[in-house]
């Protein structure tokens, strides 16, 4: 680590004002290289095949597809469901963020962990758990929601509410309450305080979380597919069908362009919204008071959210204890011994868990190596307009992988990476890198709102007092970064643990991950396969929840007293 020698280097004056120009360039180059190799190249290669025929440009498919009424129904359905999913996730997630991050009560930490679990469960498993509840014979069958759009939207909320809770909660917990208290003491009602003081402060985090969730909902595949693909399906399912079933790359390319436009619009809107609302905040040590009677409204919403999450998880848990021998731990014992009926030589669930954890560890390192410099770069208050524009482009570019179909990326690997680097691509060594691309947007979006809240005057003051650029970074941004980096690492780890799309294309059959094994077990008849799949999913959920809890606690207490020091 060459940090000390770097520290001694004398800063040169730069227009950007912090003397680290070349380093910022490096911070941008690393993640961009990542994206270029694991995203742009594969996707570009697929797209090229879709818009060329015999070496010449052929755009006739665009006219055909865009002329169909069904295309527009699909687009409408996609946007409608994603908007509903995002809005509902925010509506449920904001009160829950308040209760889980601004209030204390017994069981709060456990509840925080539970909220995150859905995010990493393989969607096929969630589909089974959800349908077990909603199917006509299930406990909630009377609602008549099975295979409806409402069920899909509920599942989207189930998955994504944690993004809102964590991202907004992360910022909320460290907001200095004094401004709000001042407003309250001047006679403002709690609702008015929230609307006029707190909400604007949370703006960037809300915009960031909302747009992320919208993108996740737009490109949701597994749950839309498993819960019955109501109506005409979505852009994502249509791309999957066109690519995977018909191998019609021409038509798939048209739908991919439509999806890309939707994604770009969402990114544009969210960055406009954050730009308007981002502001310097006073950040202090996490601050929470006991849950009281006046918090009944948000507490009620949180209870609802917890029910929505716990019901399917509970049904999953209960069913995982049922095997051919009745109730008991048999399914769990089998995880270590058997690789399931029909997979004689395969990986056991326990081995797969080990692979998953190791791969996720790698992916987390890669994601943080790329994500931390990137988040710092994105929150630099550059003076030059060109630099600020570059920042916005970079911010958008990092988000792009969220909006492109996994099947496009997956088959893209075949016509790009695998053609050029056959051995490497088949070895499975690329899995953590590909997962890092998937986790990067979430990590960046977790770090940016917190770092963006640092008052730039602190840096200027430190500079005026003679601190070099690295020292400013370490002493002003460093402590704030440390607050968020645990959460970011947890997200990276969790995303990697649960990643299915890219992993299924790249993983070596000898080194399979837990979600892949669970899905395989579910897909083949045989004694115990079902029970083992459910038990495996429960283990995956437990590991994830534990990691999230630990990561959140990996926060050096008292090491970061910016609020107090200034």
């Amino acid at each position: 680590m060459s940090l000390p020698s770097v520290l001694q280097r004398r800063p040169r004056a730069r227009p950007s004002g912090d003397g680290l120009g070349a380093w910022w360039l490096l911070a941008a180059v690393l993640p961009l290289t990542f994206l270029a190799v694991f995203f742009l190249w594969p996707v570009g290669a697929m797209f090229l095949r879709g818009v060329t025929a015999d070496g010449a440009l052929d755009l006739t498919a665009f006219g055909e597809v865009l002329g169909r009424e069904r295309t527009w129904r699909i687009l409408g359905h996609t946007l409608g469901m994603a908007a509903a999913g995002a809005a509902l996730s925010l509506a449920v997630g904001l009160p829950a963020a308040f209760v889980l991050y601004r209030r204390t009560f017994p069981g709060r930490d456990a509840l925080r962990a539970v909220v995150t679990v859905p995010f990493v469960l393989p969607t096929v498993v969630v589909g089974v758990a959800f349908r077990a509840l909603l199917a006509p014979g299930g406990p909630l069958g009377f609602l008549g929601l099975d295979q409806t759009t409402t069920a899909v939207v509920l599942a989207m909320v189930f998955f994504n509410v944690s993004v809102v809770v964590r991202q907004v909660g992360g910022l909320w917990s460290v907001l200095d309450p004094r401004q709000a208290e001042a407003a309250a003491s001047l006679g403002a009602s709690p609702w008015r305080v929230f609307r006029t003081v707190t909400l604007p402060q949370l703006g960037p985090a809300i915009a960031s979380a909302g747009s992320l969730v919208f993108l996740f909902c737009c490109s949701a595949f597994g749950i839309v597919q498993t819960l019955g693909r109501p109506g005409v399906g979505t852009l994502e399912t249509e791309i999957w069908v066109q690519t995977s079933v018909y191998l019609d790359l021409r038509v798939a390319a048209v739908f991919s362009v439509l999806q890309l436009l939707v994604v770009l619009a969402a990114i544009g809107l969210s960055s406009a919204a954050s730009a308007r609302t981002v502001r310097a905040l006073r950040i202090r040590d996490a601050y929470a008071v006991p849950l009281g009677r006046r918090d009944w409204a948000p507490a009620l919403v949180t209870a609802l959210a917890a029910t929505l999450i716990l019901l399917p998880l509970g049904s999953l848990l209960v069913r995982s204890f049922h095997s051919s021998e009745g109730w008991g731990l048999r399914n769990y014992r089998l995880l270590a011994e058997s690789s399931g009926a029909g997979f004689a030589g395969g990986t056991t669930v326990l081995q797969a868990l080990e692979h998953s954890v190791k791969i996720a560890g790698d992916a987390t390192v890669f994601t943080l190596l790329a994500g931390i410099p990137l988040a710092l770069l994105l929150t630099r208050p550059f003076h030059s307009a060109a630099a600020r524009r570059a920042q916005r482009w970079l911010d958008g570019a990092v988000m792009l992988p969220l909006g492109v179909s996994a099947v496009t990326v997956g088959f893209g690997f075949v016509v790009s990476l695998q053609l050029e680097f056959r051995e490497l691509a088949q070895s499975g060594a690329l899995v953590p890198l590909a997962q890092a691309v998937v986790a990067l947007p979430l990590v960046v979006r977790t770090l940016v709102p917190v770092l963006g809240a640092v008052d730039h005057r602190l840096r200027e003051a430190a500079g005026t007092l003679g601190a070099g650029p690295w020292r400013v970074l370490l002493t002003v941004d460093g402590p704030v970064l440390l607050r968020a980096v645990g959460l970011a690492a947890g997200f990276a780890f969790a995303v990697s643990l649960g990643e299915f799309g890219a992993t299924s294309f790249l993983a070596s059959p000898d080194y399979q991950t837990l979600p892949i094994v669970v899905v395989k077990l579910l897909g083949r008849p045989g004694a115990e396969n079902y029970g083992m799949a459910l038990a495996g999913a429960v283990v995956l959920a437990l590991v994830t929840a534990t990691v999230m809890v630990v990561c959140e606690r990996l926060r050096p207490r008292g090491a970061a007293g910016t609020g107090g020091a200034w």
């Binding site: 191998l247 560890g361 000898d510 080194y511």
Partner: protein
């Protein structure tokens, strides 16, 4: 607390966190260094043969070791996804193939691969009698088989005192249509096999009527086999409301209170082939021959959940008792299926969406 200690603690925290992460960073080492060092322990130059398979091909390890012993080839498999994904990958990479052979292609895709120019001619030795007339165009060799059948929950029908349905025509009757759950032919391979069977049985002009009647009568379309079998089906591990489910002829082997509806079965065979332009076509052929050997064929039911293509090989007891394949299944012409598949699926989707 002084600033120095606060900072050094922060630094210490950062460093230790990095160290923990770095220690965990070993999947890459496992897969490149660690894994291969043990395989390459004996440094005799073995020739590798790479076979692309679907993601549920997990034969017993001892068998694969035996293959290397007998032939001297080191076997490497890649499994990019389900059978459909395998076919697409081969078509996409046909100008510069990345594998020597392929295993796990289903009946309805064999012609797609052959016509796509992906495969080389192959004449394996020791082709079992029962496999001979099922070779496709001298390029795709049948390895193992199964059937897609409607499974019935015997207990349910006994409790209700109702007769079980006997064939496709029964299933569209109002009393049975509402008891049946099938899988979406667009997203699931048993679903596609069953759709092809209805086209074969009801004819090009009649199959849409069959489906309209079934769907109007309350037949449910689940998106995947696991969804239909575990959530909607009342037998087996399922707790659902539907006593009739589209599944496999082998499923009742492990769900003794269920059985197959004879007249609904349709074959699903898995094929292997040698890839055109492969680096090691001899190795791929050797592996195909090895899979056709008696020992490997015997392993299919219990360790890979399929029936051997060599029908002279005996089935395990549970299979022989409860999970026999139908003797006279509905057998569509795979060439016709390959040709019309896309149109049928689009017609089916339209039929479903417009309801």
């Amino acid at each position: 607390m002084s600033h120095t200690t606060a900072r050094s603690r922060t630094a210490a925290f950062g460093l230790s966190a990095l160290a923990v992460l770095a220690l965990s960073a070993c999947s890459v080492a496992d897969q490149t260094g660690g894994g291969s060092s043990e395989e390459q322990g004996s440094d005799a130059p073995k020739k590798t043969v790479t076979i692309m398979t679907h993601d549920s091909f997990e034969p017993p390890k001892e068998l694969l070791e035996k293959f290397t012993e007998e032939t001297g080839y080191e076997l490497k498999t890649t499994a990019p996804g389900d059978a459909g994904t395998v076919v697409n990958q081969l078509l996409l990479a046909k100008d510069s193939p990345t594998v020597d052979g392929v295993y796990g292609v289903e009946d309805h895709s064999t012609h797609t691969l052959v016509d796509g120019g992906v495969l080389a001619d192959v004449t394996p030795e020791g082709l079992p009698e029962s496999a001979k007339d099922r070779v496709v165009e001298g390029k795709m060799i049948p390895i193992d088989q199964g059937q897609v059948c409607v499974n019935v929950d015997h207990e349910w029908f006994e409790d209700k005192g109702m007769d079980e349905p006997q064939g496709l025509d029964d299933l569209t009757k109002p009393e049975y249509a509402e008891l049946l759950v099938v899988t979406d032919p667009v997203t699931s391979s048993p679903g596609l096999a069953f759709l092809a069977a209805t086209v074969e049985a009801e004819g090009e002009d009649g199959w849409q009527d069959w489906w309209t009647k079934a769907l109007d009568g309350g037949t449910k379309v689940a998106s995947s086999w696991s969804d239909a079998y575990y959530t909607d089906f009342s037998g087996g591990d399922g707790e659902g409301d539907f006593p009739l489910v589209l599944s496999y002829s082998s499923s009742p082997a492990y769900a003794p209170t269920t059985g197959n509806v004879e007249g609904t079965c349709t074959p699903q065979t898995e094929f292997a082939g040698v890839v055109e332009g492969a680096q090691n076509p001899e190795g791929a052929q050797a592996f195909i021959e090895f899979m056709l050997s008696e020992e490997f064929q015997e392993a299919f039911p219990e360790s890979m959940y399929m029936y051997p293509i060599d029908e002279s090989v005996e089935l395990p007891e549970e299979w022989a008792e409860n999970a026999q394949m139908a003797e006279d299944p509905i057998t569509p012409d795979p060439k016709a299926v390959a040709e019309h598949r896309e149109q049928w699926l689009k017609d089916f989707t339209a039929l479903r969406e417009d309801r």
